[in-house]
């Protein structure tokens, strides 16, 4: 791989957009290497990026538990978990660097969970049969992000990274076919600014908020990625959406977002619904053991409650479709810790030498163990629902969580625009049609710390003689003008419906037709509905205030406009893919028992969509997937 010498690095500028795990890690590392980095976030501080909310953990093939883990095993699990729709070479590289990530984070002071011997602890996540997940209580994302943020802060202090907080990227500037800068809006003053560099790195996260209700943070959005797409970056597999099985169910109309309960809970929690419909409204504690259906353990004995997310979510949908859902809306299943509390309680009693302990003693001891493992999650659940999960089973239901699709990148993480790179959730490459738990943090940090610092040389080694890029170039002027027009157009509609209301309507269309299960009829209808909604939006939206001020409604209006365009592409992609795989479930294509039916003959490819202009169909480019180091099989967790 071509390198850039230190004396040349000093003369090269790089823009990094986003400060989550991928962006902060990339900006810090590129700064350490000697490049001049300009880093942008719409947040008030880089530490707030939504990576902060990841709870459960980060995978690494360390094999510290001596349970048969290896780089190959992690590679194998990830490809299989992704239902054979990810790119083999990228995934193998991910598995290789996974181990370095843990070393790096520990050295930064990330307080990973430890055993009494002082060494690192592990737990299991869905879709695997080893314990390779490193964790920091239920706040792994926060601790890893603080690690990356502190590395970034160190570079900011050194002057190798210039940080722009409260700046949102609104367009990518392409000069002579290469990405050379971005247009941003200063979110405090409203000033539209031009920023130039030799290349642009996008680490701007996923697009789950297209569904309105998701576990994403309120401000997570697709705009940076979408603007790059409109400038020529292909968008790959947009229909691959991860619906996470364990979220707190929707409780009312006004609900603004959904809260995840970490997958780690499925290590100890057992998922069930009543066998009989008439039991659904009963107090769960009064339902006898023999009247409960532990459906994941029943259908998937080999993996039990730890099947991958897409499988667990679909199973929850089936049992609730049968009318066996619980809670006020019937759209929930139980996640029950009583057996774990009893098991841990007995073990503790034994360790502490309590002979013939009473049931109350066992419960007390067991609850203490559960509290130590999952205390903050239980606490959060109780705050939101006002129910005590130590005493009564949690109620959970699937919700949109992560998007496997994203900007198409090559092995070097470069998009189809030379000089424009995409990292982390913003790209498509590693998770295929379904991401395994604790793999998002791994990918974000792998891309940021260990991949882009090397692969960016493939582009920059040819740019060492390129002088500083000027923001006076006509391309910058044109892009700035287009951004200002977009803003003025939205402000001038002066209609009667709020942005929020349009977003909610878009989310409804997406969830009903392009959510947990999809069919041709619904998708076809959804495309028309989205087009109509978009037309209505540009005629009837109301955005208060002006551009020249702190104006969150305007920020949201720009984002929702992009979500509408993306929504249409997602539907097109889902329509094109006449098979079921991972998180993409087409009702027309299923095996007995509702399992996904893949069609490797016709669809073992990455669908990369090329933007051709508004109100024009996208062009489809296919990247055939080849698997040379793993046998392609039907995925089974039974």
């Amino acid at each position: 791989m071509p390198l850039v010498a230190p004396n040349n690095k000093r003369r090269i500028e790089i823009i990094v957009v986003g400060t989550g795990l991928a962006g902060a890690a990339a900006a810090a590392t590129l700064g350490e290497l000697g490049y001049n980095v300009k880093c942008f976030t719409f947040h008030d501080s880089p530490r707030r990026a939504h990576s902060v909310a990841a709870q459960g953990g980060i995978n690494a093939a360390k094999n510290y538990q001596n349970d048969g883990d290896s780089v190959y095993r992690l590679f194998y699990d990830t490809i299989k978990g992704g239902d054979y729709r990810s790119r083999e070479a990228n995934v193998h590289r991910l598995a290789e660097v996974s181990r370095d990530i843990i070393d790096q984070c520990a050295a930064q002071g990330v307080p990973f969970a430890r055993e009494y011997g002082g060494l690192l602890a592990n737990r299991s996540f869905g879709g695997v049969q080893v314990s390779r997940t490193f964790y920091a209580r239920g706040q792994t994302g926060q601790q890893l992000l603080i690690g990356a943020y502190s590395a970034l802060s160190r570079q900011i202090a050194r002057g190798s990274v210039e940080m722009f907080n409260r700046h949102e990227m609104l367009d990518l500037v392409v000069v002579d076919g290469k990405a050379r800068g971005i247009i941003t809006r200063n979110l405090v003053s409203g000033k539209i600014e031009r920023h130039a560099a030799h290349c642009v790195v996008l680490a701007t996260g996923g697009y789950g908020n297209v569904f309105y209700l998701s576990t994403n943070a309120m401000n997570s959005n697709v705009s940076a990625a979408w603007r790059a797409h409109r400038r020529g970056a292909y968008f790959a597999n947009p229909c691959y959406t991860q619906i996470h099985p364990t979220c707190i169910p929707v409780s009312g109309e006004y609900q603004s977002k959904l809260t995840l309960m970490s997958e780690s809970l499925r290590n100890d929690g057992r998922v069930w619904v009543p066998k009989k419909k008439e039991d659904c409204k009963k107090d769960p504690r009064e339902i006898k053991e023999e009247d409960r259906d532990y459906y994941l353990e029943r259908i998937y004995p080999a993996f039990g409650n730890l099947v991958p997310r897409d499988v667990a979510s679909r199973a929850a949908k089936y049992v609730t479709d049968e009318g066996r859902g619980v809670g006020a809306t019937g759209l929930a299943v139980y996640l029950d810790f009583s057996s774990a509390i009893e098991r841990y309680g007995k073990a503790q009693a034994n360790m502490k030498g309590v002979s013939s302990p009473s049931k109350a003693q066992i419960t007390e001891l067991g609850e203490a163990v559960v509290k130590e493992k999952y205390g903050n999650l239980f606490h959060m659940y109780e705050k939101i629902t006002d129910e005590n999960p130590y005493k009564t089973p949690m109620k959970i239901f699937p919700a949109v969580h992560y998007t496997m699709g994203g900007i198409w990148v090559d092995y070097n993480l470069q998009t189809t625009i030379p000089g424009c790179f995409a990292l982390g959730e913003a790209n498509f490459s590693d998770h295929g049609a379904n991401r395994l738990g604790a793999s998002a943090l791994m990918q974000g940090l792998a891309d940021g710390y260990f991949v882009i610092p090397y692969t960016i040389g493939t582009f920059l080694s040819k740019e060492i003689r390129t002088p500083k890029i000027s923001t006076d170039l006509p391309e910058f002027e044109a892009a700035e003008k287009a951004v200002k027009e977009r803003i003025n157009d939205l402000l001038n509609v002066n209609g009667n419906e709020s942005v929020e209301s349009f977003h909610r309507r878009l989310g409804r269309i997406m969830w009903d037709n392009c959510g947990m299960s999809r069919n041709k009829e619904g998708l076809t209808k959804a495309r028309t509905l989205i087009q109509e909604l978009r037309a209505e939006y540009h005629k009837n939206v109301f955005v208060p205030g002006s551009n020249d001020e702190y104006n969150p409604e305007l920020e949201k209006a720009l984002r929702v406009a992009d979500f509408m365009e993306l929504g249409e592409l997602m539907v097109c992609d889902a329509l094109n893919r006449n098979e079921s795989c991972g998180g993409h479930f087409r009702e027309e294509y299923q095996e007995g028992g509702g399992e996904a039916k893949r069609n490797d003959k016709d669809y073992m490819y990455v669908a990369a969509w090329d933007f051709k202009g508004e109100n024009t169909d996208w062009d489809l480019h296919k990247e055939e997937l080849e698997y040379n180091n793993i046998e392609v099989k039907t995925r089974s967790y039974k």
């Binding site: 890690a25 590392t29 350490e32 947040h43 008030d44 501080s45 530490r47 707030r48 939504h50 902060v52 909310a53 070393d103 520990a106 050295a107 930064q108 002071g109 307080p111 969970a113 430890r114 055993e115 009494y116 002082g118 060494l119 920091a136 209580r137 926060q142 601790q143 802060s153 160190r154 900011i156 202090a157 940080m163 907080n165 943070a217 309120m218 401000n219 409780s251 009312g252 006004y254 609900q255 603004s256 809260t259 995840l260 006020a328 606490h379 959060m380 705050k383 006002d386 129910e387 710390y449 260990f450 929020e500 209301s501 109301f542 208060p544 205030g545 001020e549 702190y550 969150p552 409604e553």
Partner: protein, 257 residues
């Protein structure tokens, strides 16, 4: 979840735009579901304001899971409101009585200038971290993670400090607008762990100096910071920081003077 609803009166600080240097504005809200979060109640208010073509109340929020540290409201005089160990976004309307008047203000401090309504600028916190809130290790320099065993209790203690979300409630709660709890949480997190001991002296000096430079006040042991911290960070960290600071400035290392 028995859904009830309440009527409330909201007294909200408005600043910037037509409100200039700021004043309280009162809004009546009817039929607010008690399962609604405090910020969802603000969403409802803003929808109503937007429907009347009035300017919505600016407030910051993002994850709404109590972890990103973005939300920042002083509710009835308390940073993040009445629930202990809870951020504003995780506060629910069931904590309020029907007919209540609720007063909402921004986090107030010299080092947190107001941008708009309830939104403040907390970049002074970033500046404190940039001064030294890190371990100097470049990517790729690390040894195997298990090469440094750390006693479980030590690691847990460092963790308790590391849970700080950088929201600034400690500053808002403090009568002196001190940032001692925030700064000390980072100092303690890193100086407790063996990886962080190498630069401990340099770090504490730089961070404390930066804290003073940003215009935060001094600590007078009121401990309101601990009481209102949504992550229940202990003031013991302040003691740890003071000890580290004393060691650094009065310490036995003449080379560093």
């Amino acid at each position: 979840m028995a859904e009830k609803s309440i009527n409330i009166k909201l007294k909200v600080w408005r600043q910037g735009g037509k409100y200039g240097d700021g004043k309280f504005e009162t809004y009546d809200l009817k039929d607010i579901g008690t399962d609604m979060s405090f910020l969802e109640m603000f969403d409802v208010l803003n929808e109503q304001l937007v429907s009347k073509k009035e300017s919505p109340v600016a407030f910051e929020h993002d994850c709404r899971e109590g972890i990103c540290g973005t939300c920042s409201m002083v509710i009835d005089g308390q940073a993040h409101g009445p629930m202990k160990g809870t951020t504003t976004c995780q506060l629910h309307m069931r904590s309020f009585k029907d007919g209540a008047t609720i007063t909402v203000e921004p986090f107030r401090a010299k080092a947190f200038p107001v941008i708009r309504d309830l939104v403040v600028d907390r970049s002074s916190f970033d500046a404190i971290i940039q001064a030294g809130g890190y371990i100097s290790v470049n990517t790729g320099q690390a040894q195997d993670a298990n090469a440094i065993p750390i006693e479980k209790d030590t690691s847990e203690k460092a963790f308790d400090a590391a849970t700080c979300i950088g929201c600034g409630a400690c500053v808002a709660a403090c009568p002196n607008s001190a940032a001692m709890l925030f700064t000390s949480a980072k100092v303690a997190h890193l100086s407790i762990m063996p990886q962080g001991k190498v630069e401990a002296q340099k770090r504490v000096e730089a961070m404390v100096n930066q804290m003073d430079k940003e215009g935060f006040g001094m600590c007078s042991n009121v401990k309101a910071c601990e009481a209102e911290c949504p992550k229940e960070i202990s003031v013991e960290n302040i003691a740890i920081m003071n000890r580290e600071y004393m060691k650094a400035v009065l310490g036995a290392d003449p080379e560093r003077k």
